[in-house]
Amino acid sequence: MIGNDIIDLEIARAERKSENIRYMSKVFSEEEMNQIINSNDPELCLWKLWAMKETAYKAHQRSFDLPRKLNPKAFSCVLDISNSGGKVSIDDSVYDIELNITSGYLHATSSSEKVSKNVFQINKDSAFDLITVITDNYHFTTEDFSIKKNAHGIPSIVAEDHSIEIPFSLSHHGKFTAFAIPLINS
């Protein structure tokens, strides 16, 4: 199932959440908190775990068509030794998450299926047509598609005649917009 989350590290680091024990205890288990505190870069470690939880939340919500919830603590994270991803479990489900980190952003995507993932740096004044970017990916023509959200707010790109429905996951933070869509085997 598809899910992704983008973190603008400049904005996120400025919030200094790793020094805020009250904040952390609403979001992380004791084990996760210890991992953050003992890490070389606690702030980065915190946002890795947050983005993993948020990505798994989106995948899980889509998978079971669940109503929205603010329950980050229900998702428990284990980072790989490589630190470039990990596993998140919730109830009986486990999600594999991949992390891509640059100096500017941290991008998490669920990696249980092959996905095309993209991160854009958006100039607020420039028009950005998400549908064009996504339909170009599939070599469709743009005009027949629109973004539809179901009753739980889960988005898909849908053809006007409903012949095609592409699940996709969208995330914005600060100057970045990111999405993930399934790859079509061709």
């Binding site: 996120a12 959440k17 009250r22 904040y23 609403k26 979001v27 947050w50 948020e54 929205r68 919830k69 603010l70 329950n71 980050p72 603590k73 707010g153 933070h173």
Partner: protein, 83 residues
């Protein structure tokens, strides 16, 4: 505390995290923190902490889970204040 006072205080609390300011013009029970005000989910946890401080209450995980609209927050605050 009157409902009106709770909503006024809530509006002040959420303001620093709002990314869609137009959403504040029509601030009422149906206002959705994520969709209408575009507060990101990491900052929604900040809202929970600020509500705890402002109203001197504790919001447990079960209550936090359902705090998605202004009306949800108002009901949680009223419930905790009456305990």
């Amino acid at each position: 505390m009157s409902e009106k006072e709770i909503l006024t205080r809530l509006k002040t609390i959420v303001k620093p995290y709002v990314q869609r300011m137009e959403g504040l013009n029509d601030f009422q029970e149906n206002t959705d923190f994520l969709n209408d005000l575009e507060i990101n989910s990491a900052n929604l946890v900040d809202v929970v902490l600020d509500v705890e401080d402002e109203f001197n209450i504790e919001i447990d995980n079960d209550s936090m889970e359902g705090m998605l609209t202004v009306g949800d927050a108002k009901s949680i605050i009223q419930r905790k204040l009456s305990n």
